[in-house]
């Protein structure tokens, strides 16, 4: 018994230590990343990109399901993004309300014969529409049979997309107007350095095939925030404000930590685990070759990035997934406990799924940083964290029950973990304020930062519980009839790292 106790305590100690060190490193890396980004950004003239014939085209894909209330203003705001070569593809995923009718009326749509190339299999596409009004010629509307997932709808959009890059978002997400300019930049900044010739002339074409020894950016993402209490006017954010209600407020804080500190830090060592489903720009060719979104997955956004990386490594191509620290997208976060629990349980289930589906890549040196850093970190610090925390709690209860606890030491350790998590969160908010001074007053920022003191007590236990519930559903294979409901507004998924 004593031996078991020592082993358990020892391994928990090292696990905890590793996690703390990882967070410290992430904080340092993301600080460098944010500072570097800021310096560059100050000297970047995005306007010259606006009018250039050299700008790469981008297809903005936004699936919509029963969004009749807001669809018009949201599509309008997508159409007024600052960019020259782009199209907006709205995928009406079998809405049962007047979403499609409203679109047809407002934007003067006509059904067209569209050569739809089904490169990724989806539910049948019924009709495609374009506007007869030249002012809306960037708009393409797809009407398809409901596929019960955002992934299926996005895939239909990818099939119809005519440009080389696509931005995946949700109709109810509010996108900052310079988003395309900012997100395409990382793709255009990688250097294609040396050109290598490989092997003998190809018997088919007579040329020696060449491979560019450069890094190809396959995806890029940016920070997401909650739109809950922001002032929004016809699909445009007028004033950024942290949510007033407690639950969304915690989420806002969590998002900032996960994006500005987490993803930005990972981006510095090219180990970004996933790009959020709420906003991400992808290389279409690679996304299609990797098979598009998996409509069965509960974590389709992490899944597609993992598979795209896998495709690149399997084909011996160098790649990068990049992040920018500025907030480009605002999304409606679950305001009530019921919806929130659904969302997080789903994320937990998705996490378990990713770990099992891609288990062959974990600790596989062939998959380099993906197999040795990204996925192991996801496994250890995201997937296992709730389980370990839960066992830790049980262990504490056991110690208290058998009265063998050293209260002084236990409290010191607790205080340490607590304060460390507060510190990490506060640093994240501090980094976030470095890029742009979000929020109008200092009171709002401090008010948000103070939530870090409540988080470990109120919010964190919920996250752990819902994650465990998700794992449980995954193991028992519980059929979920959440269908479309949970997709509305909460389609975005990103893994939040828990401290």
């Amino acid at each position: 018994m004593e031996l078991f106790r020592n082993i358990y305590e020892g391994s928990i100690f090292f696990y905890g230590l590793a996690m703390l060190i990882m967070y410290a490193l992430l904080a340092l890396l993301s600080f460098r990343g944010v500072i570097r980004f800021k310096r560059k950004d100050e000297n970047t003239d995005y306007t010259c990109m606006l009018n250039s014939v050299l700008a790469p085209g981008i297809s903005v894909i936004a699936p919509a399901f029963n969004e009749g209330v807001t669809i018009i203003s949201n599509v309008r705001s997508l159409l007024t993004l600052n960019y020259s070569r782009f199209e907006v593809i709205i995928v009406n995923d079998g809405s049962t309300d007047d979403t499609l009718d409203k679109l047809i009326r407002e934007f003067e749509l006509r059904e067209i014969d569209f050569a739809y190339n089904e490169r990724i299999k989806t539910q049948p596409v019924k009709r495609l529409f374009k506007s007869v009004n030249v002012a809306y010629d960037k708009l393409l509307v797809i009407d398809k049979v409901n596929g019960k997932s955002k992934a299926d709808a996005s895939n239909a959009g990818i099939n119809a997309a005519s440009y080389d890059y696509f931005l995946c978002t949700d109709v109810d997400c509010i996108i900052e107007k310079d988003t395309l300019l900012r997100l395409i930049k990382p793709f255009m900044e990688e250097e294609y350095k040396k050109v290598q010739q490989i092997g003998e002339p190809c018997p088919e074409c007579g040329y020696v095939h060449i491979v560019e020894e450069g890094v190809r950016v396959i995806a890029a993402g940016a920070t997401l925030r909650l739109a809950n209490d922001c002032e929004i006017d016809q699909g445009v954010i007028v004033r950024v404000r942290p949510p007033r209600k407690l639950l969304p407020r915690f989420q806002e804080m969590e998002y900032i930590r996960a994006y500005v500190l987490g993803k930005m830090g990972w981006s510095m060592i090219n180990c970004v685990p996933n790009v959020s489903g709420g906003l991400g720009l992808f290389d279409k060719e690679i996304a299609i070759k990797a098979g598009g979104y998996d409509h069965k997955s509960f974590a389709e956004d992490m899944d597609i990035v993992t598979r795209m990386c896998q495709y690149m490594i399997d084909n011996k191509l160098r790649y990068a997934v990049r992040y920018i620290p500025t907030t480009q997208c605002w999304t409606e976060g679950p305001p009530t406990m019921k919806v929130f629990s659904r969302q997080r349980t789903r994320w937990g289930r998705g996490m378990a799924e990713i770990i099992t589906i891609h288990r062959k890549m974990i600790f596989n040196p062939r998959y380099k940083r993906m197999g040795l850093v990204v996925l192991p970190c996801s496994l250890l610090f995201e997937f296992l964290a709730p389980i370990i925390e839960f066992t830790g709690l049980l262990y504490y209860i056991y110690l208290i029950a058998t009265n063998s606890i050293n209260w002084d030491y236990a409290l010191i350790l607790l205080a340490f973990v607590y304060l460390y998590s507060v510190m990490i969160t506060t640093l994240a908010i501090c980094w976030d304020q470095l890029t742009l001074r979000y929020y109008k007053t200092w009171r709002e920022v401090i008010g948000l930062a103070l939530m870090a003191f409540l988080e470990p007590i109120l919010y964190h236990p919920l996250i752990v519980f819902f994650a465990l519930r998700g794992y449980w559903f995954f193991i028992t294979g519980k059929k979920s009839n959440w269908g479309n409901m949970q997709r509305q507004g909460f389609g975005q998924r990103r893994t939040v790292q828990t401290a």
Binding site: K40, M49, D113, F114, A115, M188, V208, L419, M423, T426
Partner: protein, 383 residues
């Protein structure tokens, strides 16, 4: 009181000394965490306060600058030919204010003037430049250029090039191959814009690649600066080892419709690099080089997909009608959807909608091909 506090500290210290290592480390980090949290709070507040003050300051200065410019520079009659420089001189007098004597204020002034200059051309734009010189703001820019920080250097280069203030080649040229990407790009842009004799010299010297992002800005500068003498880009297309320079030159060839560079582009069709080859084909198509058609159709079968697509597009753009049969065949027989689509697109581009060929194809094609044809003929769909 004092005594008890000491006592307390002593007991803590005692506890600390004899605690296990983990606890000692934990206690240490408790203090680290507390202090870092406090520092973070402090810096958030400081940043916000400073930023708020700076924004207000900048807004006030901008307002003042706008007013002064409206009264002094923008008030001139755009159609009358006044003696140039005269308005600027009176304006310069007006700008001799204490707000613009400090570095910060001068920087705001520089930024605002640049902004004005980027929005207005002609005599009024020149007045802005003269004003910049009369206020000796160029000295500030040159001082920044000597700074050791790359971002200040970049800023200086932007200011000088936008105001078209000459900088010696010896200063700029080394920077065009700097290891720092941003600096390298800014130096190249400034060089192109400012160099009197050979603005394209760095094409020869460029060892580092031209990033796509920088190409965008370079392209804008080259195509919007008036005095640049456009060289024959064939020299780099033929001789440069830098792939990105070649690909950039191809885009410039298209923009300037430089027919004399075409032989060099045609030679590029034999390059081993299929990406570059595709760009060369694209260039030939956009230039509508009818002489290239036969060669393109001839090499078609040996090409990888991306080049095949480009060839089909090019044939459609050239649209001489010589290779209609080829396009038709490709449209009917190819197994690849994209190839069929591009073949159809090129056919519908070169043939009038009601023509015999299109009607015939519409009647005889499979359902999918018919859909492709209709897609391509629909004026609402661009791609």
């Amino acid at each position: 009181m004092n005594f008890s506090l000491l006592d307390f500290l002593e007991s803590i210290f005692f506890e600390f000394r004899y605690a296990p290592l983990i606890i000692q480390v934990a206690i240490l980090f408790v203090f680290v965490a507390i202090s870092l949290t406090l520092v973070a709070y402090f810096s958030i507040l400081r940043r916000r306060f400073r930023g708020f003050r700076r924004d207000k300051n900048v807004a006030r200065l901008n307002e003042l600058i706008d007013e002064l410019l409206i009264d002094n520079v923008l008030s001139q009659d755009p159609e009358s030919v006044e003696t140039p420089g005269q308005t600027a001189e009176t304006a310069a007098q007006a700008f001799h204010l204490p707000q613009f004597s400090k570095r910060r204020g001068r920087q705001v002034l520089i930024d605002r003037l640049l902004n004005y200059r980027n929005n207005v051309r002609g005599a009024m734009g020149d007045e802005i430049r003269t004003l910049y010189l009369l206020l000796e703001l160029d000295k500030d820019s040159f001082k920044k250029l000597k700074s050791r920080k790359w971002n200040r250097k970049v800023r200086a280069l932007n200011e000088l090039s936008n105001m078209e203030i000459g900088v010696a080649d010896v200063i700029i040229l080394p920077l065009t191959n700097s290891r720092n990407r941003e600096l390298r790009a800014a130096a190249r842009h400034a060089y192109i814009k400012l160099s009197k004799n050979e603005p394209f010299k760095f094409f020869d010297l460029a060892t580092e690649p031209l990033l796509l992002w920088d190409q965008v800005e370079l392209f804008r500068i080259i195509t919007t600066t008036n005095h640049i003498a456009i060289p024959n880009f064939a020299q780099w297309i033929t001789y440069s080892n830098n792939k990105s320079v070649i690909s950039f030159c191809l885009k410039l060839v298209v923009h300037y419709h430089q027919l004399k560079a075409i032989p060099a582009v045609l030679k590029l069709l034999d390059t081993k690099d299929h990406l570059l080859r595709a760009e060369a084909i694209n260039c030939l198509g956009k230039m509508k080089i009818a002489d290239a058609e036969d060669k393109l159709a001839y090499i078609y079968n040996n090409q990888p997909l991306n080049c095949q697509i480009e060839i089909l597009k090019a044939l459609g753009r050239i649209g001489s009608g010589k290779h209609t049969e080829f396009l038709k065949q490709e449209f009917q027989l190819s197994t690849d959807f994209e190839l069929r689509k591009h073949a159809a697109k090129s056919l519908t581009n070169s043939e009038p909608p009601g023509s015999e060929l299109i009607t015939e194809l519409l009647e005889t094609s499979s359902a999918e091909n018919k859909l492709i044809l209709k897609h391509c003929m629909n004026p609402l769909i661009k791609f």
